[in-house]
Subunit: 98 residues, 2 copies
DNA sequence: ACAACATATTTATATATTTGCATTCGTTTA
DNA sequence: TAAACGAATGCAAATATATAAATATGTTGT
């Protein structure tokens, strides 16, 4: 007996969300945003040592798939986790990968 | 302050594991295996109405990336979750997607 | 050894993702 | 209104992934 029942649409959405997360850089980004932290594109780009445009692309993917939200404040755009419990996925991964 | 500290290798492994899960059919497979259930390739192939070879490919990916284990018993190969807490990811997704 | 069944692999094609350069857009400050 | 800064977008090349048909491998029973 399945615990959770997924519709085809839910399967698609869940897969898209996971696909968004399933990238080393993007896991690192989420990891840095855990605990309600807010970071700008430049901060992340310097923190992870990846190109500004690449960073923006990754953030765009995460935002588009519902993992992150963003808020523009002046010249900066801050990114943060949309659902705090998404951090659980990262924690769970950490347990399974060690 | 990050809760979890990932090494580059752990990020890669975590991403590979998530990438393995991040597919509608593969989420459906995991969903069917929750609670310690064991299913054969044919059972999954009939349950999800996808080609036998496609099913085998998906199962191979999940096994290769450490999500599933398998055990051959006679003509059949049974597949099952390697870490039961991987089901948590699916449950967490379900919460975030509804 | 042979037939029947279950699973895995090979191969090819279509499709999607990643990355960074170059450029553009939006905001602030001189 | 220009210059400077931060962020987003368009584009192209390299790489990876998905699917299924055909084939091969492994296992059981005759």
């Amino acid at each position: 007996m399945k615990i959770t029942q997924f519709s085809v649409e839910q399967l698609e959405e869940a897969a898209n969300m996971l696909k968004a997360i399933a990238h080393p850089m993007r896991i690192a980004i989420i990891n840095h945003l855990e605990g309600g932290k807010r970071l700008t594109v430049t901060e992340i780009h310097e923190l992870l040592k990846i190109e500004q445009s690449t960073t923006s692309h990754h953030l765009g993917i995460l935002k588009d798939k519902g993992v992150l939200s963003s808020k523009r404040e002046g010249k900066n755009t801050f990114y943060f986790l949309k659902h705090e419990n998404l951090g659980q996925i990262v924690e769970c991964l950490n347990k399974c990968c060690s």
